[in-house]
Symmetry: none
Subunit: 376 residues, 2 copies
DNA sequence: TCCGATTTGTTCGTATGTATG
DNA sequence: GCATACATACGAACAAATCGG
């Protein structure tokens, strides 16, 4: 548990970092803060005292406590010519993220930058804490994979503050719509379309789609899933779209699949999966039910991760640029930093967002059933 | 008139400057100072608090307040209060490293440290460049996975320099023998022994061992391989030990295995692998040769990575602590930093190296052949 | 210029929690 | 277990500076 004066301290610091308090603005008086946080004056003074010694605030007796002008202080702190870049991802160790990080790291360290990594574990509170930390230090650029990009983001202010301090940042994999940042993403809608269209072309008409919808990747892939059905004039049973969020990813999709399999004469012949990780888990369910892939059911993954190649049934899946994307992100942020240092406006880089066109890699997890349909 | 807490402050400060209090000496307790200056405890704490933030004193709850070692602190405090730790690994994205990094990162960021990551790609030139960079900046601690620990290391000087600058560092997975650093490692010899002993206990007598010998993990595992043979009084055909280095890891072991398989009536029944990654590659070779695992040949991996569970034949393998090791590394470096700041000698931590005892996880890639031998 | 309200500065008292030896 | 020492928190009083009327 954190102490009271520390919560007060953090709350005030947050308001400064996110820009609620602007430089030289008077903050709430001690007695106001006492009421606001229901603490004694002593506690408020402790919190403020710390922030004063850290340079966030300054006080004037009889007048009030004021927000310090951080921008000037920062410039002094550029002791030494360290070049720092922060990478924020949802996860560090899982799945395709290590590859993305490596791609970025190798390129950035080539250019003499030091790379600091942060992971949010897909928790927006962690994202906020990390952004606060980044804002209170000296970074030349930030590469962000948004946390829960599917939801509205409570940390928008921090990103706007990055802009105010002219710290370039780019987003990878997804982006917050409200910000329209420079971004390096896949065309996820197209990807979802390709997954689905592939199966439909192979004669599948009864598909289930599983999509994680707390990030925009998932919602876009779902959109592609629908689009492919429409284009091929195949009706969708709404119950055949299963959405889940990060917290449910180890339970809900599997449970839902089990439910479907339990129904006799279910006509399901194909599964469209949010990603390879999920595909592997669903494969396990099918295996315990003695359902053969691709003989009985076809399955399509997404990301072309190591899982796709290492499994018993090699997965048909959508390619993800992974380390290439990391490198592209590095290059873009390097460009932005350089143009900033040359005093050019960021407008010059509006065209610099990258959208990767998805490609399908066909392996062994999908089967053409159009013939068998004809013959049967 | 000056304030009371300021007179107390000055009095203490004077005693430090004139040398009455020497570094790391305990100063009077708060209650003693209350009597001495006839002021309240609050006033004493104000004075002491200021001196702590200025770096003249440090406090230890339950123990007392101490005079800081001013000479060293000057060096550290110039930059400001960023807390930085560097992690150097051979690879970032591959295999078990992401898990190790995550374990360390989560613990360190919990404590407010910023984590910078560097990867050597197992190249000693890169290791040198990274160490140069770290030495020229302000890091509070370094976690290193040694590069090519099996070879003599040309960068020893840089590590000695870290010591000279009293920057604590620890090594994980392996260590350079010349340095005898604090380290967090596995008992790799025991691990190799367990791999081999397990197969021998199952009746296998003709084993091939594959070991990457440019790091000490490999040589130690090889040692365990030999030891298990000796203990069980089984002779080894020297040609059944295949060593390789990082550059050859995608070719040599596989080629050697193919050669062995090409020999008719080879009696090989088991493969002991440097790690799961190699085991998977060898599995692929066996698969293309239509050799069944474990029916025809048993195979043992090392590290209990995701590969062990995800493959067609679930691997019997040695457990690696992974993220737990990362956490332990983080805790150890945090301890070292704290003890350094308190002026304790590093000797207190000689016992702090950790050696994980390996455990065998038995899955489906090994088979007992002692019975079939009896019956045949 | 003075007054009074507000705001921060200094000081004391008290109580309880937690770590150390 | 106990004494010691620092950590956190609440309350109260008065001083000093500021600011608007």
């Amino acid at each position: 548990m954190t102490t009271k004066y520390n919560t007060v301290r953090q709350a005030i610091k947050s308001k400064i970092i996110e820009g609620t308090y602007t430089p030289h603005q008077k903050i709430s008086s001690e007695s106001e803060l006492m009421k606001e946080f229901s603490v004694s004056r002593h506690t408020v003074r402790l919190a403020i005292g710390d922030l004063v010694t850290e340079g966030w605030l300054y006080k004037e007796q009889g007048s009030g406590t004021f927000c310090a002008d951080r921008s000037k202080i920062n410039n002094n702190q550029v002791v030494g010519n360290q070049k720092n870049i922060a990478i924020i991802t949802t996860y560090i160790s899982d799945y395709i993220f290590p590859s993305i990080i490596r791609g970025a790291e190798s390129r950035l360290s080539e250019e003499g930058y030091q790379v600091s990594i942060f992971s949010t574990n897909n928790d927006q509170n962690n994202e906020r804490r990390i952004l606060e930390k980044i804002l209170s230090q000296k970074f030349d650029g930030v590469i962000v994979e948004p946390t829960k990009s599917g939801y509205s983001n409570p940390n928008i202010n921090y990103y706007l503050n990055l802009e105010r301090l002219s710290i370039p940042y780019i987003m990878i994999n997804a982006y917050y719509d409200e910000l329209e940042p420079i971004s390096i993403v896949m065309d996820d809608e197209k990807g979802g379309f390709l997954q689905t269209d592939h199966l439909i072309k192979l004669g599948h008409e009864n598909l289930i789609g599983f999509f994680k919808t707390d990030d925009t990747q998932g919602t876009k892939r779902m959109k592609g899933f629908l689009k492919a059905h429409r284009k091929n004039k195949i009706a969708i049973n709404p119950s055949n779209i299963i959405t889940y969020n990060t917290e449910e990813k180890n339970t809900k999709p599997m449970d839902e699949l089990k439910k479907v399999l339990a129904v006799k004469n279910n006509a399901i012949t194909g599964l469209v999966c949010y990603n390879d990780e999920l595909a592997m888990k669903l494969l396990d369910i099918l295996r315990t039910d003695n359902i053969q892939v691709p003989e009985d059911i076809s399955i399509v993954g997404y990301d072309d991760s190591f899982l796709a190649e290492v499994s018993e049934v090699k997965l048909t899946t959508i390619e993800h640029p992974k380390s290439e994307m990391g490198e592209a992100a590095a290059n873009t942020i390097l460009d932005l930093i350089q143009s900033k240092n040359n005093g050019k406006s960021e407008e010059d880089f509006n065209g610099n967002s990258t959208v990767y066109a998805p490609n399908l890699t066909i392996r062994k997890s999908t089967r053409d059933i159009s013939e068998s349909k004809v013959t049967s």
